[in-house]
């Protein structure tokens, strides 16, 4: 969806500027009783190796994402197995200079974390609904295959 349907992403988040793969992508292939891991690291890294791994049947186990809305920018890692969020860098918030500032900063941070969690929940819900539908078997799998080999 990141590469082929940013419009749909904007439907979920009207303020979305972009959602892109960040500086890390990990794929695993456990076919033939052997575990093969492909890790792609670095800013603006070429994802060709990842696409090749996907065509061979690998699955994404970890992804780093860069999410921008308006003037705000989030970066975070997401694990496939647990859906745990790691290394989340939030947009800048005001400093805590006095005890009175703390409540405001906590509320602001909570709002910013909620934005990321809301995005994950929305996209994951979309995926799950698609995954249990007939469309997944009849259309989506072949579309993904076609995209990965293009």
């Amino acid at each position: 969806m990141i590469e082929t349907d940013q419009k749909r992403l904007r439907r979920y988040d009207p303020d979305l500027v972009s959602l892109n793969i960040g500086s890390r992508l990990v794929l695993e292939n456990t076919r033939n009783n052997a575990k093969e891991t492909v890790t792609i690291k670095g800013e603006d890294a070429n994802l060709e190796e990842g696409l090749l791994a996907l065509t061979k049947g690998a699955v994404v186990t970890e992804i780093h994402l860069s999410y921008k809305t308006g003037a705000q920018h989030w970066q975070f890692g997401l694990k496939g197995e647990s859906l745990n969020i790691s290394n989340l860098k939030l947009p800048e918030t005001g400093p805590v200079e006095t005890p009175e500032d703390l409540e405001g900063v906590v509320m602001e941070k909570a709002y910013l974390v909620e934005k990321v969690i809301g995005l994950i929940n929305t996209l994951f819900s979309h995926f799950v609904k698609l995954r249990v539908s007939n469309k997944w078997r009849n259309q989506t799998v072949s579309q993904i295959r076609k995209w990965a080999s293009s």
Binding site: G57, V59, K79, G80, E81, S82, L83, N84, I85, S86, N87, L88, K89, L90, V96, P99, L102, E103, V105, V106, M107, K109, A110, V113, I117, N121, F124, S125, V128, K129, R131, V132, W136, R137, V141, I144, R145
Partner: protein, 204 residues
Amino acid sequence: MGLLSSRISITRYKVSGQLDGSVHETVYHGLKQHAIPKIKDEGSEALVGWTSFEHPYAPDFEGYSFVFGTHMVFALRIDKKSISPKLVQKHYALEVAKHLEETGRNFLSGNEKKTIKEHVVKTLGRRIPAIPNVYDLLWDYQKSSLWFFSNLKSANEALETLFIKSFGLALIRLFPYTTADLVAGLSDQERDLLLKLGPSPSEE
């Protein structure tokens, strides 16, 4: 590892069930009852308890200081003693040498070695201070949602155990299946299909 860190890790939970009576009052009592002890327990290897977000080294929940708007924010603290195996090895060797000299023998039985090792670990444990680890959490009671700011397995397990002990509510970790089941808003029919899902042709 906390909400105010520059890089955050989050494990998400759904809180199962409701509290009886006033939420803030019940949580306050749970926190107070299971707060990290102020008195150092010299003998124990690890201490686990709640602490306050603002003052993690001097827990204080008075005046509902854990309430931030619609959220409750507090922290789990785990004070753990970590004795380097090399330090144990050194003191064990010294103790063994001393014991042999005192007894005039040139060997020790398996039981004697075990007793000396246990004594060394116990003595060092009393002398070495515990290292405090603080993990913040944010609980949105209305949404039955809890964010724990650590992905560490041991910290998450400690949280799950202490939470049910303190508040009588179970935490359900939101991993892909539980997220699909509890958050994705599936219909009953879709939920049945989810249970029967197998690898799709591309994953087989």
